[in-house]
């Protein structure tokens, strides 16, 4: 009797948990649903029907328009050139900030110098600096370097801003690698860079993935630096998206807006889908040593 009621209680509990989870999942998926369905509807259907319903007739017209035909300001090129801009910005920025962060983490843990902790503390401080605080000084620096308004300028900004985070990742990872490994390599005759390239980097694969995902997401999704330091045809995709959505003549083209937003979001989604499990593994890797 007692066990039976206990089992029923447990089942009720389960039922409650699952229904709550499903409900919340639906709630969170709703905007995505609206985006996908809207982007697949012709404009007339959107204006005549409901936002939520399935499209009566599926068309990819909005997607192709968003990609290559939508007008941004006076140019009707679609998102394509800006997508390329973002790629040109995000690839070097991610590689540079991850590489430099790895080097920093290596020096801060295996070649400790006087004041290493202070340097690390100041780098940590950089993580807490809001974007807005660095915009003005950054603009001055970019101006002096002759990089203002350009994609290389944005690469520099994102690299500098990203180093704080990547250094933190790598420092906390390398600190779990025993110092004796460096000593053994020194006795084997390996120098500073040889140890870094042959021993530390191969062992750091999980955290390299974490750093790349983190930096890719940050840099790709950034709007503020993009809108502050670039203009016209040099802007990254986030800024172009904003211009498409906010600047319209005539009827607001909801289907094109939605398709544009999804095009802008796809690369980060892809990165998570492809490398997501390494992300989780990398974040927990410090706890389990091989």
């Amino acid at each position: 009797m007692a066990t039976k009621s206990l089992a029923r209680q447990q089942m009720l509990g389960r039922l409650f948990i699952y229904s709550a989870l499903i409900l919340l999942a639906l709630y969170y998926l709703m905007p995505l649903w609206v985006m996908v369905t809207t982007s697949l509807k012709p404009l007339d259907e959107i204006y005549s029907g409901s936002f939520i319903g399935l499209p009566q007739e599926i068309t990819f017209e909005a997607w192709s328009k968003a990609w290559s035909g939508a007008c941004i300001g006076t140019e009707c090129t679609g998102l394509r050139p800006y997508f390329v801009n973002s790629i040109m910005m995000v690839v070097p920025a991610v590689l540079l900030s991850t590489g430099l962060g790895a080097l920093n983490g290596y020096v801060l843990t295996k070649w400790r110098f006087k004041g290493a902790n202070l340097v690390f503390g100041m780098m940590l401080f950089g993580c807490f600096l809001p974007y807005q605080a660095v915009i003005l000084p950054m603009a001055q620096v970019l101006g002096r370097l002759g990089l203002s308004g350009s994609i290389p300028g944005l690469v520099l900004v994102h690299t500098v801003y990203g180093i704080c985070f990547t250094s933190l990742f790598f420092r906390n990872y390398f600190i779990t690698i025993p110092d004796e490994l460096t000593k053994a390599a020194q006795i084997d005759g390996a120098g500073f860079f040889r140890i870094f390239l042959s021993i530390m980097l191969p062992a750091a694969l999980p955290i390299i993935v974490v750093s790349c995902i983190w930096q890719f997401t940050q840099v790709w999704n950034d709007f503020l630096f993009g809108v502050s330091f670039t203009s016209g045809s040099d802007t990254p995709i986030t800024v172009a998206l904003n211009n498409i959505v906010n600047v319209t003549t005539g009827r607001k083209q909801y289907n094109v807006d939605m398709a544009s937003a999804m095009i802008a979001a796809i690369p980060t989604l892809l990165v998570y889908v492809v490398a997501g499990r390494y992300f989780v593994r990398g974040l927990t890797a410090g706890a389990v040593k091989g």
């Binding site: 000593k183 020194q186 006795i187 084997d188 005759g189 191969p202 062992a203 091989g290």
Partner: protein
């Protein structure tokens, strides 16, 4: 192969002095063990010999060459670490070949050296595995293989057995001894385990607080420890240090100490006439190893048995003397707690210490 000379070596981190004037000198092919508790400076000394830490004062000579300013790779040394320090992403073969690769040794020769080392250490089947797929003992072997292929002047071992379980530790100890016999290379070996020191060393340096307390062959360290610290650290159970006094007697140095059952007298302890004269009638510390007691009805030490601990080959008897607990290791006999016995002492093995300085007399 080489000699090793450590001359007045000092090491300080700011105001903290971890090594104070260390002097050690060993000949070619010797097995030097640096023995001491953690924090005594033995690992620091090893790192200084390896060149992994710089030196505050003094000189290190390997094969009569001052190496103070040479980087580790130019010192012709190889080192085995406590955590083995195998490169985690490389296979066993790559681990062993890494150093040779950096020194630019051709692939053919590398493979030959690696296979020879693998054969010597019986790990031919492991060459393509990663360190994470190996057991502790196997990792230990790989670390030794990595050191062997270097053909160094000097092997350095930093507590290499302390991560292994008890049985494996004994096996690997034998293996290291065999390795030393076969290669004949000079070895410096750091440990806190006095049994390892006794079994492996040709010379032991017992360290404490950055100072070498006793440097000599293991049997000498055991038989004639330089001070009470060394006496207590080496040997298990430790040497008994019993407060007593030297009798003013007739040319045969004789010590006495109190027991609850009466006075114990040991005649004929080794002591020079001069020291015997100087300390006549004064307090001394009487050092007696547990195995130098014997059950003897006509013995001169009256004993009230407090605790009996049979170990199999021996029986340990704990009794009180000179206000401390004393352990005797005897052949098994029908020992009863509370019973009175009489023990004799091998007088020629007794070591006397000055109670003021705790150093050995003579």
């Amino acid at each position: 192969m080489a000699t090793l000379d450590i001359n007045r070596v000092r090491k300080a981190y700011g105001n903290l002095e971890v090594l104070k004037e260390v002097n050690i000198s060993v000949g070619d092919g010797e097995f030097l063990v640096l023995l001491g508790p953690s924090g005594c400076g033995k690992s620091t000394l090893l790192n200084i010999i390896a060149g992994l830490e710089d030196i505050t004062g003094g000189e290190v000579l390997i094969g009569n060459r001052v190496v103070n300013d040479l980087p580790p790779k130019d010192r012709d040394i190889a080192m085995v670490f406590q955590s083995y320090a195998l490169y985690p992403t490389m296979t066993v073969r790559q681990n062993i070949e890494f150093g040779m690769k950096i020194r630019g040794i051709p692939a053919e020769e590398r493979a030959k050296a690696t296979n020879a080392a693998a054969e010597m250490l019986q790990m031919t089947g492991l060459l393509d595995r990663k360190p994470s797929q190996l057991s502790g003992g196997q990792r230990q072997r790989v670390a030794m293989g990595r050191a062997i292929v270097r053909h160094p002047d000097l092997f350095l071992f930093d507590e290499p057995l302390s991560n292994l379980d008890a049985k494996l530790r004994v096996d690997m100890r034998t293996e290291i001894k065999r390795l030393h016999q076969r290669l004949g290379t000079t070895i410096v070996y750091v440990t806190h385990d006095q049994i390892e020191a006794m079994t492996l060393a040709t010379k032991v340096a017992v360290m404490k607080g950055g100072v070498v307390q006793h440097f000599g062959p293991p049997q000498e360290v055991y038989d004639r420890p330089a001070n009470t610290y060394v006496a207590r650290f080496v040997g298990s159970p430790a040497m008994n240090i019993i407060p007593g006094w030297l009798l003013a007697s007739d040319g045969v140095p004789t010590v006495a100490f109190d027991t609850p059952q009466g006075e114990a007298v040991v005649r004929g302890v080794p002591l020079s006439a001069e020291t015997a004269h100087r300390f006549a009638g004064r307090d001394v510390l009487v050092g007696i190893r547990p195995e130098h007691f014997g059950l003897d009805p006509s013995g001169t030490v009256p004993v009230g048995v407090d605790v009996v601990e049979p170990t199999g080959p021996d029986t340990l008897i704990v009794f009180a003397a000179g206000g401390t607990e004393v352990v005797a290791r005897l052949e098994p006999f029908d020992a009863q707690v509370g019973r009175q016995e009489r023990f004799s002492v091998k007088a020629e093995k007794v070591v006397l210490f000055d109670p003021a300085t705790e150093t050995r007399l003579d």
